[in-house]
């Protein structure tokens, strides 16, 4: 029996500076003998020498394989150590783990992405894969809208990706909490951008950000008439295994690492969830 | 302690003062809480609403540094209510009249104002304590770490003697010792003024006995206390130091002075298990074996001498402190530094230390150690102290008067800073606990406890970084809004080197015990704006 806590070796191929605190690490697995696949919304357990492991969402699309992006904000000991790594350095990865955004169900629907800060990372892969499919499939995703909030102008991450999406017809609306001189766009909370006209009868909303943002966005969407099953969000919890064993992410009888991290509002509604209360 | 820990749960009244018992002495707190569950009354005297205070029947949240005034008032009330134990006082104590005359002159309303506690609450507490014949007082460093620490202790003793709550099971005065072997270090005379077993260095017979065994003269010059050694600064008389397993750079008051003293020494040697802040200033650092890597005895708060057994070989090239000392002793030509085992050292200790007279390794292995005094091989040890006689004969009442802390709040320093151990998960300067993965996870950084009212006034949020200033220094620390502290007071621990809070504390000390006034100093605080 192979030890399940031993990660696979991966090497950093590229590092993108998304903002002062967020870097995207483009990884490639060294051992190609067994195939690796994942779906957008899933996460990996990332091992960093001497720091242990942390759960990190995959921020790229499966279409970019064999490269895998992890966008990481510098916050604690492990993430600080990751930020000090260079191209060519090795890390360990286990996974992918958890539920994913059901891209196959999005055919013919309008997608409304609402993200705050690093919360765009798990949604990024969904946007990419939808855009990729738009070119290939008969009944692709219709309108894609992104509402993205940051604290300050300097905090805006993934600008490169946002620019590329705009080129491909995604309606990207940005907002910052704190006004600055050269900022031409919207100032205020991301909920301010949530206008009823954004919603159609075929809208699915995908939300990720700080708990308080998730709470207000869901409340507003619900009020605007979006059904509970058409609201999807992804939760962040302290995790040690990613495989439903360690118990840390237990949530009212569910495990975020196995039953989540992607949940419909319908599934979360009756649980005691920090993000909703 | 005059009682045993196991006796505690059968007491009827607990008076806990200056002790955050649930966090610092969990087993004692467990016994107290079990007693409370069985119907005992719990009175807690503490400026903070500690977890134990939350369980108390009466919480006397006094203004910091007003313990003497409070307890004097309690005694006055006890006398007024005819609850004093006259028989005990006449049989076992001296100088009661002086105390009584002094107490009669007290103005109770004034004391209520000084302590900030309603007179009725003080009265209730006094009556509850005095009406029971099984009342126990537990006190800790909240009582002793004041300029008037000795007086505080005396006042507590007065209260116990006044009601006859001493010299029996389930009744007594129990100082809770902080570290695992504080009691033993004192017993073994790691103190400047006594020989092992608290024998006076000035006693000729004692010195003759020690000289006979040690083959050396016993120096008669009075020694310096820790604070006198470490606070002398650059012009102190101390030129060289050897420090074993202590971290005064972080634990002592007015840290800058300590660091200055130590860096100015001609020579500093430190023996420790980690490269502590103190060790990193040393000329020589010895890697010591941890408790798991050696044998030896330690003495707990209830005077119980217990064996620690070696579990593993020393890590790396570490050696037990005892071996390091003997190696040094041999090199310094000190005789009697060739013990083959810890048991052999204990044989010499029991020979020279009457209260340890019956402590032998073969006996300690049975019955979970022995409690001193244990005079000889046949003596069973002593469960509670002061039975039939106090160590000095009759118990002495001494009049103590309220005195304000060395430093009072004023316009520029409007907050009172309290310090202490701050969590279930850390310990002293945290050299051990911060090397424990789980304990670090549970309490990763220093926090400044502050009331909601003060936060509102200062526009602070939970977790904001603030700069704390006193006349001596400043530190930065994150806030934690809590109902544990009263408005006007803030609290933080001294566990974290990143927040060397003792740079702020005063180095005023009790003139008799030399215990520094850690508990109270005046500070100001302001929010640190992020760049």
């Amino acid at each position: 029996m192979k030890e399940i806590f031993i990660p696979d070796r991966a090497v950093i191929r590229e590092i993108l500076n998304e903002n002062k605190q967020i870097k995207t690490f483009r990884l490639e697995l060294l051992d190609k003998t067994h195939p690796f696949s994942f779906r957008p919304g899933q996460f990996l357990m990332l091992s960093v020498p001497h720091c242990g492991e942390a759960a990190i969402s995959i921020s790229s699309s499966p279409t970019a394989l064999p490269l895998i992006d992890l966008s990481i904000r510098k916050a604690g000991k492990l993430t600080t150590a990751v930020h000090a790594l260079q191209v060519g350095d090795e890390v360990g990865i286990r996974g992918p783990f958890g539920t994913f955004f059901p891209v196959a169900n999005f055919h013919g629907r309008d997608l409304l992405f609402v993200a705050g800060g690093i919360g765009l990372a798990p949604l990024k892969g969904v946007i990419d894969v939808c855009l990729f499919q738009q070119e290939l499939e008969e009944n692709p995703v219709q309108q894609i809208t992104l509402l993205y909030g940051s604290r300050t102008v300097a905090d805006i991450a993934f600008s490169q990706a946002i620019e590329a999406w705009r080129q491909q017809g995604v309606d990207c609306q940005l907002t910052v909490d704190i006004d600055e001189l050269d900022w031409q766009d919207h100032v205020g909370l991301v909920t301010d951008l949530l206008k009823p006209e954004l919603l159609t009868k075929d809208t699915t909303a995908l939300i990720c950000g700080p708990p308080i943002m998730i709470r207000f966005v869901i409340a507003q969407l619900s009020e605007m008439g979006l059904s509970d099953t058409a609201i999807l969000t992804t939760l962040e919890r302290h995790m040690k295994c990613g495989m439903g064993l360690c118990g840390h992410c237990h949530l009212d009888g569910k495990l975020v690492c196995v039953d989540g991290p992607v949940f419909t509002y319908a599934a979360l509604k009756n649980l005691h969830v920090m993000e909703l209360n | 302690m005059t009682n045993s820990i196991g006796e505690l749960q059968d007491a009827d009244v607990f008076l806990v003062t200056g002790s955050n018992t649930t966090e610092t002495h969990p087993q004692i707190a467990r016994n107290i809480l079990q007693g409370v569950d069985q119907g005992a009354q719990l009175i807690v005297i503490d400026p903070r609403k500690t977890d134990l205070a939350k369980q108390a029947h009466i919480h006397l949240a006094l203004r910091p540094g007003t313990d003497i005034a409070l307890i004097n008032a309690m005694m006055r009330i006890i006398i007024d209510e005819n609850l004093a134990d006259e028989l005990f006082i006449s049989m076992r104590t001296e100088n009661y009249e002086a105390l009584r005359d002094f107490l009669f002159r007290l103005d109770l309303d004034e004391i209520a104002a000084i302590t900030g506690i309603e007179l009725k609450t003080i009265r209730d507490a006094a009556c509850i304590y005095a009406r029971s014949s099984k009342s126990v007082i537990c006190y800790c460093l909240g009582v002793t770490q004041h300029c008037c620490g000795t007086d505080n202790v005396q006042t507590v003793a007065n209260l116990a003697m006044l009601t006859g709550n001493v010299e029996k099971e389930h009744g007594g005065v129990d100082p809770l010792r902080g570290q695992n072997n504080v009691q033993g270090a004192c017993d073994m005379a790691a103190l400047p003024a006594v020989l092992p077993g608290y024998q006076a260095i000035t006693n000729l017979d004692t010195c003759t006995r020690f000289r006979e065994v040690w083959k050396r003269e016993i120096p008669q010059n009075p020694g310096l206390s820790l604070t006198e050694m470490t606070h002398a600064g650059a012009d102190g008389n101390i030129r060289a130091m050897f420090i074993m397993g202590e971290n005064p750079v972080l634990s002592d008051p007015h840290l800058k002075q300590v660091e200055k003293t130590l860096t100015n020494l001609d020579f500093l040697a430190v023996s420790d298990i980690f490269l502590t802040e103190t060790a990193s200033l040393a000329h020589v650092v010895f890697p010591a074996a941890s408790f798991a890597e050696k044998n030896g005895t330690i003495t707990n708060s209830e005077r119980r001498v217990q064996l620690c057994q070696q579990a593993i070989n020393p890590i790396g090239n570490c050696r037990p402190d005892g071996e390091i000392i003997m190696e040094l002793g041999r090199r310094l030509g000190c005789p009697g530094m060739d013990f083959q085992s810890q048991a052999e050292v204990m044989e010499e200790i029991s020979l020279l230390t009457p209260i340890y007279g019956g402590m032998h390794y073969d006996r300690l292995q049975e019955n979970w150690g022995l409690q001193w005094p244990c005079w000889n091989r046949d003596h069973p040890g002593t469960k509670f102290l002061h039975k039939y006689y106090f160590s000095r004969g009759k118990g002495q009442f001494t009049v103590t008067r309220h005195q304000e802390p060395a430093e009072r709040t004023e316009k520029h320093y409007p907050f009172t800073l309290l310090t202490g151990r701050g969590s279930y998960h850390h310990y002293h300067t945290a050299t051990m606990t911060r090397n424990s993965t789980r304990l670090v996870r549970e309490y990763p950084e220093a926090l400044l406890e502050i009331s909601k009212e003060d936060c509102t006034k200062l526009h602070l949020a939970d977790g904001d970084l603030v700069e704390l200033n006193s006349r001596r220094g400043k530190v930065r620390v994150k806030t934690q809004i809590t109902d544990r502290v009263q408005p006007g007071t803030v609290f933080t621990s001294f566990h974290f080197w990143e927040v060397p809070i003792n740079q702020l504390t005063v180095d005023a000390m009790d003139p008799r015990s030399k215990c520094p006034e850690f508990k109270v100093c005046a500070v100001d605080l302001k929010k640190v704006c992020h760049d």
Binding site: - | Q183, A240, E327
Partner: protein, 133 residues
């Protein structure tokens, strides 16, 4: 796996703790039920007593300051240097120019030996520990 009875190294309660030893590594702490104080309970610190023992931050070699830096040396070098430095201080400034701090974390035997060394070997009463801190 082996259980070794010892006394907790933290507070003054003095709990009886079994250290669980596996191949010269302490892998656990477990309370004793019969110990008169412990009675089967441990606090958070007691339950994690084993964790710091094998910390990679432990000192494992004697260190001596050379050119301002602490460097690894042999035991003999560290001990010889310490003994001669203390001797020198005593010669130049008298025994009372030496101060010794013992430890409330060390054993009775070690505290006894250290105060004996201080008094009989160095010839001073300048010894104390952190009882009041």
């Amino acid at each position: 796996m082996q259980d070794v009875m010892t006394i907790c190294n933290y507070c003054g309660c003095g709990c009886g703790v079994y250290l669980r030893v596996n191949q010269n590594r302490v892998v656990g702490s477990y309370p004793s039920k019969n110990h008169p104080i412990t009675q089967g309970n441990l606090c958070s610190k007691g339950w994690h007593l084993h964790e710091f023992i094998h910390s990679h931050n432990r000192l494992t070699e004697p260190l001596l300051r050379k050119n301002g830096q602490l460097q690894e040396v042999s035991w003999d070098e560290a001990l010889d240097f310490t003994a001669s430095s203390l001797q020198q201080t005593k010669q130049d400034h008298g025994a009372d120019a030496i101060g010794v701090l013992a430890s409330a974390k060390c054993s009775n035997e070690e505290n006894y030996l250290l105060q004996k060394l201080t008094r009989a070997g160095l010839g001073t009463n300048n010894i104390d520990h952190c009882a009041r801190l």
